[in-house]
């Protein structure tokens, strides 16, 4: 009786699969066919369940279970007729009115025959668990015929797939034909073979599993748009079988023992639990050690990520691109490789190419606009071919691929703007990019973003100059980037900052973003490293933080995402020491998260003293999960209070005698200039430092000062 659940759950499963498959097949001829198949097999399963429930023993007049049994059979036969029609032209979206009409006529005919005559089944009854059918004269013809229709369709599709040029279409067709065959075999065993030949009717309801198998088959046939490695599929199926055997068998034995003994369940339950724990542990070990070898290429993803993390961006544009090409080409084995980067004219130009050196893609190209609108990061050619969601633009996209001689594209974007594209050509092995390759390309996207950002913003030949083997930025450019922030413009705040890099390159940055008329986000900090790498990392991080700010409502999440970004994408050893915060002028409050900022001073007019408020903090980019360490702090800002934030450059500066400037000197300087405007104070603090160091600046200096007026316009 418990098997009835299967027949009632099957329609739910089919409905779910249909809903998931629907976006893949909308606007195609398959949309209504797969809907019809889902409905028909749902009717089959549901009706069989009803028939089983309502059938009684030893009664010759049972119209309800008889009706539902005939309905179930008609629905199953109709389902296989519909499936046969699908197999005639799947996966090509072509219409065939004649075939449609013939299929419809056959479906109508089978329903009419089954429900209107006694040709299929004369009577049914259920004795204990056995469901018994009294077969009509055409029973064998209908059951065998329906199965034959399904099998013929599946075999026909299989044969067609062998002649298909597109491997992804071939794969989809194979999945559907295999799913159909598996469904028919399962249904035949439980619905026909066991009851008829072996006289086992108690498992009859398991035949409804055939509809689930079929549903899974058609779902994957339309939703998989990337080639997968059959070895990986085999590995996964084998993993599940091993897990089931090692856990299921001992637990089953324990349950059997319990049933036999029927005394206290404690020992069998404990035994089953122990078997479960041991069995699952052994199974996982076996799968990880022995079956990973079948997967084979799993290790290449990690090696690829590690190699990209070590790319030295200070090596120069050509050297960087050459290195990236060599890192990617080794495991992926592509024939051609092109990197397109956005130029000053807004078009994409080839920064590196193994073939088409002078290639250009217009910035207003429709294909580019389409990729931007879909938010695509990685797109395989097989996706464009096989995913029906791309059908309206398939021709344009395939031409785009052709122009780049690509089989895979990695589209690097900064917000809505396309920074560039990595175009990978066809595999030298002749194979297509697989689902594993797709996931790997997605995993390395962040690192490729860093490379392309460097190519676009730094390594432009027009601003390069080589000094002592270092690539130097124009000081005007780096200062303009530093100055390109929203200013705090609020009647309650007199704010100013100074940011001075040493040797024209550095990792300090400060940024403000106006969230609303009364709320301003700020970040002040220092990205570790030296020279070009630090500047690069600083610029990229600044951009990413602004992106996160657009996407995140939770303030702490911005810090978490920045941490993850640094950890995963910036050169190894990079970290950020600073503070994230925001001012809420309506509430006269500052909120902040200390991520390793060395000093935040607040002058309190109430207590007429300067206090350190930064508290404990931890740098970003050192550990993977920073969330337990992030503490949001709240500081009320009273009228005439003064805030001072600096990076460690001031504190670590040394005099000619080697003495650190330190916190105390900074505090004294702050105290001495507390009556100045924010601008004068920041400049005075900086000048005091230069006096101390005899005008030597060894590290980046960032000073941010804010004088608060709770009542706007009040005199200082």
């Amino acid at each position: 009786m418990g098997l009835i659940i299967v027949s009632f759950l099957a329609p739910l499963v089919l409905f779910t699969l249909w809903m998931r498959a629907r976006p893949r097949v909308q606007d195609t001829v398959w949309s209504r066919y797969f809907l019809a198949i889902s409905l028909l097999f749902s009717v089959f399963s549901f009706s069989l369940g009803i028939a089983y429930l309502t059938a009684q023993p030893y009664s010759t007049d049972q119209p309800v279970p008889l009706f539902f049994t005939r309905l179930a059979a008609a629905a199953a036969s109709a389902g296989y007729i519909a499936l046969f029609r699908v197999c005639l032209s799947f996966p090509y979206d072509t219409r065939n009115r004649l075939a449609d009409l013939a299929a419809l006529a056959a479906i109508v005919g089978i329903f009419a025959f089954n429900l209107g005559t006694q040709g299929y089944v004369i009577q049914v009854e259920r004795v204990n668990l056995d469901f018994i059918r009294y077969e009509g004269p055409f029973y064998n013809l209908i059951t065998t015929g329906s199965a034959a229709v399904g099998v013929t369709g599946a075999l026909f599709l299989f044969a067609r797939s062998l002649a298909m040029r597109s491997r992804i279409f071939q794969q989809q067709s194979l999945i559907l034909s295999l799913g159909t065959l598996a469904s028919i075999v399962l249904g035949f065993i439980f619905a026909i073979r066991l009851p008829q030949v072996s006289r086992i009717g108690s498992l009859y309801l398991l035949s409804t599993l055939s509809s689930v198998i079929l549903g899974i088959g058609y779902y994957y046939s339309v939703s998989i748009t990337r080639i997968f490695a059959w070895s990986e599929v085999g590995r996964r199926i084998l993993s599940y079988l091993i897990l089931a055997a090692l856990i299921g068998v001992p637990v089953g034995i324990a349950a059997y023992v319990f049933l036999l003994v029927r005394s206290s369940p404690l020992i069998p339950v404990l035994g089953a639990g122990l078997c479960f724990v041991l069995g699952s542990h052994l199974a996982v070990l076996f799968v990880d050690r022995s079956l990973d070898a079948i997967a084979g290429r799993k290790k290449y993803r990690e090696a690829l990520q590690s190699a990209l993390a070590h790319v030295d961006l200070a090596g120069g544009r050509d050297a960087v691109l050459e290195e990236v090409y060599s890192i990617l080409s080794a495991p992926l084995g592509f024939s051609e490789f092109t990197v397109m980067a956005e130029g000053e004219d807004g078009d994409l130009h080839a920064a590196f190419s193994t073939t088409a050196a002078g290639m250009t893609v217009r910035g207003d190209s429709p294909s580019l606009a389409l990729l931007e609108s879909k938010g695509t990061m990685v797109l395989l050619k097989t996706d464009v071919v096989a995913n029906r969601a791309y059908a309206p633009v398939k021709k344009d996209l395939l031409e785009f691929y052709e122009s780049l001689r690509a089989e895979a594209l990695i589209v690097v974007r900064e917000g809505r703007e396309t920074l560039g594209i990595f175009a990978l050509g066809a595999r030298l092995s002749g194979g297509d990019y697989t689902a594993y390759d797709y996931e790997t390309l997605q995993a390395i996207y962040g690192k490729l973003f860093v490379v392309l950002y460097y190519i676009k913003n730094i390594a432009r030949e027009s601003i390069l100059s080589t000094v002592d083997r270092e690539i130097a930025f124009s000081s005007q450019i780096i200062e303009s980037i530093q100055e390109n922030v929203d200013r705090i413009d609020h009647p309650k705040a007199d704010a100013h900052f100074i940011a001075r890099s040493t040797r024209k390159l550095g990792g300090d940055f400060i940024d403000f973003v106006r969230l609303s008329p009364n709320r301003y986000f700020f970040v002040v900090g220092d990205v570790s490293g030296k020279g070009l790498n630090a500047s690069m990392s600083m610029l990229i991080l600044k951009t990413m933080i602004r992106n996160f700010l657009k996407e995140e409502k939770d303030f702490a999440k911005i810090a978490e995402r920045a941490n993850a970004f640094i950890k995963d994408n910036l050169p190894r050893g990079t970290f950020f020491a600073g503070v994230f915060g925001y001012f809420d002028f309506a509430k006269d409050t500052m909120y902040f998260i200390n991520c390793g900022i060395p000093i935040m001073y607040l002058f309190s007019p109430v207590f007429n003293t300067v206090i350190e408020i930064q508290g404990e903090g931890r740098v970003l980019g050192f550990i993977r999960d920073i969330s337990p360490y992030l503490k949001l702090r709240r500081v009320p800002l009273s009228s005439d209070s003064i805030l001072l934030i600096t990076t460690d450059g001031i504190l670590e500066s040394e005099s000619l005698r080697g003495e650190r400037y330190g916190k105390e000197r900074l505090q004294r300087s702050f105290w001495a200039h507390r009556g100045d405007s924010a601008k004068d104070m920041a400049q005075a603090l900086f000048q005091d430092l230069l006096t101390y160091t005899d005008n030597r600046q060894e590290d980046d200096i960032t000073v941010f000062s804010l004088k608060y007026k709770a009542k706007p316009g009040s005199e200082e």
């Binding site: 990792g507 490293g529 050893g573 020491a577 060395p598 740098v619 550990i623 590290d699």
Partner: protein
């Protein structure tokens, strides 16, 4: 002292690198090269007792080297960090993540 001096020796299957002087923008490259090269081959002890300055870049080298060592199944220790180095490590907020040794006997 503006120069960074480096001494290397092998001890019980481990490499010991002793640095003396500043790790700043002038000496950082050499610091990085020696630490990375050593950590790829064997367990590494980095003696920073006589380091007078440790820039953020130098601190980043130690962090990166710790990761490299862990990935390669090796260990890295920081031996007798000077006051400056200790303050730099503390500034990260992750003092407990840095493997610091007070004596080499602690290894055995």
């Amino acid at each position: 002292m503006n120069q960074l001096t480096i001494e290397e020796r092998q001890e019980n299957g481990r490499t010991v690198l002793e640095f003396a002087g500043p790790v700043n923008s002038y000496t950082f490259t050499e610091f990085q090269e020696r630490v990375y090269k050593a950590v790829k081959k064997a367990d590494l002890v980095v003696n920073l007792e006589k380091v007078t300055t440790l820039s953020s870049a130098g601190l980043g080298v130690l962090m990166a080297a710790m990761e490299e060592a862990e990935e390669g199944g090796r260990k890295l220790w920081i031996f007798k960090p000077s006051e400056i180095v200790r303050l730099a490590i503390e500034s990260t907020g992750f003092t407990d993540k840095f493997p610091v040794l007070k004596t080499l006997k602690d290894l055995d």
